[in-house]
């Protein structure tokens, strides 16, 4: 939890930077552990409920541990009309999980996201921070292989 203290210090313990702190913690830990939120509440001197309010309001946050690799399927309009739904079907079938879930081996978490702003390459999936564009159902397996 040392990282959490460091992150809070980075933002000068200001309560207006709570969202940024949570983002950094999530980046570090993969999700927002309850202990980390408690530390933030203590050090910034805000009620824990305010942190939960932020963590549940904003899409970017997760309160449960996620997989080693996050598969983001873009569901922006361009991706939608170019077959994002088919990619989701295929991913759900291949990984045997639903949107928002994590595989049993902790390898992948599948999440639908709003437009990632790569509409020229639709349909797009983003794994960790790597973009894969112009995909068809057939490409899905090959793309996933790269991630251990």
């Amino acid at each position: 939890m040392e990282a959490v203290h460091r992150i809070i210090e980075n933002y000068g313990k200001r309560d207006r930077s709570l969202i940024a702190m949570l983002q950094d913690i999530q980046r570090e830990k993969g999700y927002l552990p309850r202990e980390a939120l408690k530390i933030v509440a203590d050090e910034v001197n805000v009620p824990l409920s305010r942190l939960y309010s932020l963590a549940t309001f904003y899409k970017a946050f997760s309160l449960v541990p996620r997989g080693r690799h996050i598969v983001h399927v873009c569901t922006g309009t361009a991706c939608h009309v170019r077959g994002a739904v088919k990619l989701i079907d295929k991913l759900e079938q291949t990984l045997e999980i639903k949107n928002g879930e994590t595989t049993a081996d902790g390898r992948f978490t599948l999440e639908e996201v709003r437009c990632v702003g790569c509409c020229g390459l639709a349909p797009v999936i983003v794994i960790d921070e790597e973009f894969h564009g112009k995909l068809t159902q057939k490409d899905v397996g090959k793309v996933l292989e790269k991630y251990e």
Partner: protein, 599 residues
């Protein structure tokens, strides 16, 4: 700054799209190959921001020859360097080819996609390294700021913006100068300024591109605005999903501070202005200005009712002015080249240019900048090259979830704020998503309502509950369980939500349903009365089968079927097993002989 004179420059696109296609490796390979031939002293490789033609990435342009290369792979680099730089003839394999039977086009300015554009906001795209302030300055960067700070009063700046006719590029098109004037007149010792880079509309990415390709233009615009209204501090609220944009704008801030163009005592004029980057939390509603301000303050991004407007009571209760990325990027060039010049572009009430993201079922998809008032047809066919696969154009969705679908009968519509609103859509941030005959308009309406149900903040009842009711009705219709009264209920709900929701998200949320009902009612009726999806999309209403007359037994469909529902011998007609088929349509997309029938 590297002042060595090079004979030729290779501009390699490093926008997010091209980077994801490996453009940075292409850059290294080019440098290595040039060095191998001893050309590294003559040819310089530069990485630039997004050049707009994302679909064809990775892209590189050779200047001054103006030769455009697309879809580059590492294998292409040795022959390309040999042909172009040693032998002096453009490398044909990576040139743009408009259609199967047409000739390759070497020069960028001869390609329809680029030829018909007019670059004002995107003036620096693809011609400079966005991470080098010197290059921005070399292209007249910060001249507008110098002019504003040393020879104009705040009133004169606002007057100039007013005379240019600049309207907000974020959605509603409110005159920028009027907003600035309100904030300027507000009585307070502390005022704030915000750049809204929470580009939430799915299918629109111009703001990301501007931040990635020309971050200094945004900073310069904001600083000019700050001088005009008397702001001490600015915030750029940018989506966390845009890591490259965040990175570039942060670098730009550091560089501008080093050069005395931002921070304390800017250009020795005694004017102080600082900018901070705030990363958004991934909530569409935060594009609404009051929600965005709540988010900057570290609160959940829920909108509040207006008035008071941000110009009176904004961030932390202080007068605040908000404009979006594209609006800010327009400001420096208006001040530098003058309002008179700017006002010659566009139409009577919509001045200047607009950047559109032309995406979806279109041949040339990417970012395009055109003068306001250009007919929709020219964007879609002139620049976009029409619909792929010879399919028929059906509609174009403009303005994101708050916008609407414009049908083929309105293709000659001049695109400006007023004309789009008359058609029931809005300009919005400039997403143009093209749909062809295989796009179901009821499915599209449901798509947007789903999006909005998800993104509704839940504060007001019409939006929180009303949208869910609309969603339930639409779900019934696409499942083939719609009733005759459903269309009437949808219309009634839509009008109620439009008139009673708290913020812009709710007020405009019914637009996708209203415009599809207006222009494509017969498609709703086909779902309800005939239990038929004319576009062949809604899974509950369609079955796929193979026409034995047309099937050549090429096996492509069987290989593309994700559930192995297709069987058949090679060179014999194939069959789909109805029990296994999920109606996903992959076979239809893959078939080259139109042998897949959807009923």
């Amino acid at each position: 700054m590297d002042r060595k004179n090079y004979r030729t420059h290779v501009l390699v696109c490093a926008g997010t799209g091209c980077v994801s296609n490996g453009s940075l490796n292409i850059k290294s390979a080019l440098e290595e190959e040039l060095k191998k031939h001893g050309l590294d002293g003559e040819v310089q490789v530069i990485v630039t921001g997004c050049q707009g033609f994302c679909e064809r990435g990775p892209i590189a342009i050779v200047q001054p020859d103006d030769v455009f290369y697309q879809s580059l792979t590492l294998k292409d680099i040795p022959p390309l360097v040999e042909e172009h730089f040693l032998k002096g003839r453009p490398y044909k394999k990576c040139m743009y080819v408009p259609g199967k039977k047409e000739d390759a086009i070497p020069k960028m300015m001869d390609i329809d996609f680029f030829k018909h554009q007019m670059l004002v906001v995107l003036r620096n795209r693809g011609r400079m390294d966005p991470e080098k302030i010197d290059e921005y300055i070399a292209f007249d960067g910060y001249r507008g700021l110098a002019k504003a700070l040393t020879s104009m009063t705040p009133d004169e700046i606002i007057e100039e913006i007013s005379a240019s006719g600049l309207r907000g590029r974020g959605g509603a098109g409110f005159p920028a100068a009027m907003k600035w004037r309100f904030a300027q007149k507000a009585d307070s010792d502390v005022k704030y300024l915000i750049c809204n880079a929470d580009e939430g509309d799915p299918g629109a990415y111009m703001d990301r591109s501007v931040l990635e390709a020309d971050p200094h233009a945004v900073l310069e615009g904001m600083t000019i605005g700050a001088k005009a209204i008397g702001a001490v501090k600015g915030f750029i609220y940018v989506r966390d999903e845009y890591p490259l944009a965040v990175d570039r704008i942060k670098k730009a801030i550091e560089q501008a501070k080093d050069y005395g163009l931002l921070g304390e005592n800017i250009l020795d004029t005694g004017f102080d202005f600082d900018v901070e980057v705030i990363r958004g939390g991934g909530a569409f509603v935060c594009g609404e200005e009051t929600a965005l301000m709540a988010s900057i303050e570290g609160q959940p991004g829920r909108p509040r009712s207006r008035p008071p407007f941000p110009a009176e009571r904004g961030l932390w209760g202080k007068p605040t002015n908000i404009n979006n990325v594209e609006t800010w990027a327009n400001v420096p060039i208006i001040i530098h080249r003058g309002a008179e010049w700017y006002a010659t572009l566009g139409t009577e009430k919509s001045k200047g240019t607009k950047v559109f993201s032309l995406v979806g079922k279109i041949n040339n998809s990417g970012l395009v900048e055109v003068p306001m008032g250009i007919p929709l047809r020219e964007i879609i066919y002139g620049i976009g090259g029409g619909i792929p696969g010879g399919k028929a154009f059906k509609a174009v969705q403009s303005g994101g979830p708050s916008g609407g679908c414009i049908p083929a009968s309105l293709l000659d519509l001049p695109v400006d704020y007023e004309k789009l609103a008359e058609a029931g859509a809005i300009m919005g941030s400039g997403g143009l998503i093209v749909m062809d005959e295989e796009t179901c308009m009821v499915d599209v309406a449901l798509y947007f309502i789903n999006f909005l149900v998800d993104e509704s903040c839940g504060k007001c009842t019409p939006c929180r509950v009303g949208l869910v009711r609309m969603k339930e009705i639409l779900e019934r219709i696409v499942a083939g369980e719609g009733t005759e009264s459903d269309i009437g209920s949808l219309e009634a709900l839509a009008h109620t939500i439009k008139n009673s929701a708290l913020c812009g998200l709710g007020n405009t949320a019914p637009n996708p349903v209203l415009t599809t009902l207006k222009y494509f009612k017969e498609e709703y009726e086909a779902h309800i009365r005939d239990h038929r999806c004319p576009a062949g999309v809604c899974k509950a209403l369609i079955t796929h089968r193979i026409d034995p007359e047309k099937c050549t037994g090429c096996t492509v469909c069987a290989r593309n079927c994700p559930v192995d529902a297709i069987s058949g011998e090679r060179k014999q007609p194939h069959v789909i097993d109805i029990e296994l088929c999920t109606q996903c349509g992959s076979c239809r997309e893959a078939c080259k002989f139109d042998a897949i029938i959807v009923e």
